[in-house]
Assembly symmetry: C2
Homo-oligomer: 236 residues x 2
């Protein structure tokens, strides 16, 4: 299953708003996009269903789910049912941080990119309206790219995969405006850290707050299905 | 399950000779060693059984196997039954190279180390008597350490995990002499890329050739159970 790689990208796709926008940007550039979702034992499995919908919606060449059991080691509110998802803003890196998650996901993307001979790995991280996770920062992405230049046979043979974070410097409103212009149906995406199985959102967690504020600031109608107790933002 | 980390290490343990020696070195330093094996769909599953034996033999605090389906993406003789394991030396990086394997394994170790508050991640790579895999080289390990310093909450908060490759500059004979001195029973380890379910070795693949030459050069009796057609080295 080898492909000519100069037009091929692996796109990390969580099912959330950001990675859907990153995929839309890559598709708008004409890239053949191989979407990768990682099932790391997250409690919000609704995200993985959303990822499949988004991959189909945006015309990904294929969508693969790789499972890795980060849940077994715990250490995060997103993988350990014994740690509550906060519903109020706090200080510091929140307990929703998943140990080394983006390192693991980029490593898996790097493996697949090498087999596909893809020339780009695209990840929807951004560090403006974000939760302060260390592995969303530009210096982390740059360090991973330097690692990738040494890690693979492809790189040794001169076919490095570039690591791209096209949303890196965008705020949430700009991301939403960009995706809306590119035809993203954000109603298909799920951001909530404690989404129902059907994808309805709590409205209170960090991910919901950032998402809701983004739609308000962008002046775009928020299609998120909030639960009855979620005190939806005005304008919905 | 948090532990004081200053005496704690995560040790990547494949079941082969090198990682067993790395674990023995860490144990000889008095470290509490949490052994991590990664089931990435390798065809030589005998390695994982060997890893469990070695972890118990060398007194690891625990042994965890994480599964990740690199086999599904193919690209290596070690994960794709359609690609034969070479039985003659070739040139360049061999087809037994697994795309981004050490990046994936170190990423998983980094995640676990953060939860354990471990201060070291130990990997048994070496780049003297080796197969030329890019992710065994010192510059790769150094790049991963730089990445790890940016990737985790632990690092941001000043608790970096050091990445150690204690065998980095050793040849195979020196590795075997070191492990023998530390009491490693190499009869428990499996190196062969096409080992039987019971761990008996082909004697011809790259891993067997490096291992056999190492025992010969070290002047240590080779306890490897070779198959009847393996033309065992003299002295066995």
């Amino acid at each position: 299953m080898r492909r000519a790689g100069s037009n091929t990208a692996v796109v990390l796709l969580s099912g959330g708003l950001d990675s859907a926008t990153a995929l839309a940007i890559a598709r708008s550039e004409g890239l053949a996009c191989h979407a990768l979702s990682v099932d790391y034992g997250q409690r919000h499995a609704a995200e993985l269903l959303a990822a499949a919908r988004v991959a189909a919606h945006l015309g990904a060449a294929e969508h693969r789910v790789m499972r890795v059991d980060l849940g077994g080691i715990g250490g995060s509110a997103l993988t350990d049912p014994g740690i509550a998802v906060p519903e109020q803003p706090g200080s510091g890196i929140p307990v929703t941080y998943v140990p080394a998650r983006n390192t693991v996901m980029l490593a898996l993307a790097l493996a697949w990119a090498e087999v596909l001979e893809a020339h780009e790995i695209i990840i929807g991280v951004n560090a403006v309206d974000y939760s302060g996770y260390p592995d969303c920062r530009p210096e982390f992405i740059a360090a991973f790219e330097r690692l990738a230049q040494l890690a693979t046979r492809a790189a040794v043979e001169g076919r490095q995969a570039r690591i791209r974070a096209p949303l890196q410097d965008m705020g949430k409103a700009q991301i939403i405006r960009t995706g809306t212009r590119l035809g993203v149906d954000y109603g298909l995406t799920v951001s909530c850290y404690q989404a129902d199985a059907n994808g309805s959102a709590c409205g209170h967690c960090d991910a919901c707050r950032l998402r809701r504020a983004g739609f308000e600031s962008a002046g775009v109608a928020d299609p998120t299905p909030y639960r009855y107790d979620a005190h939806p933002a005005e304008g919905r």
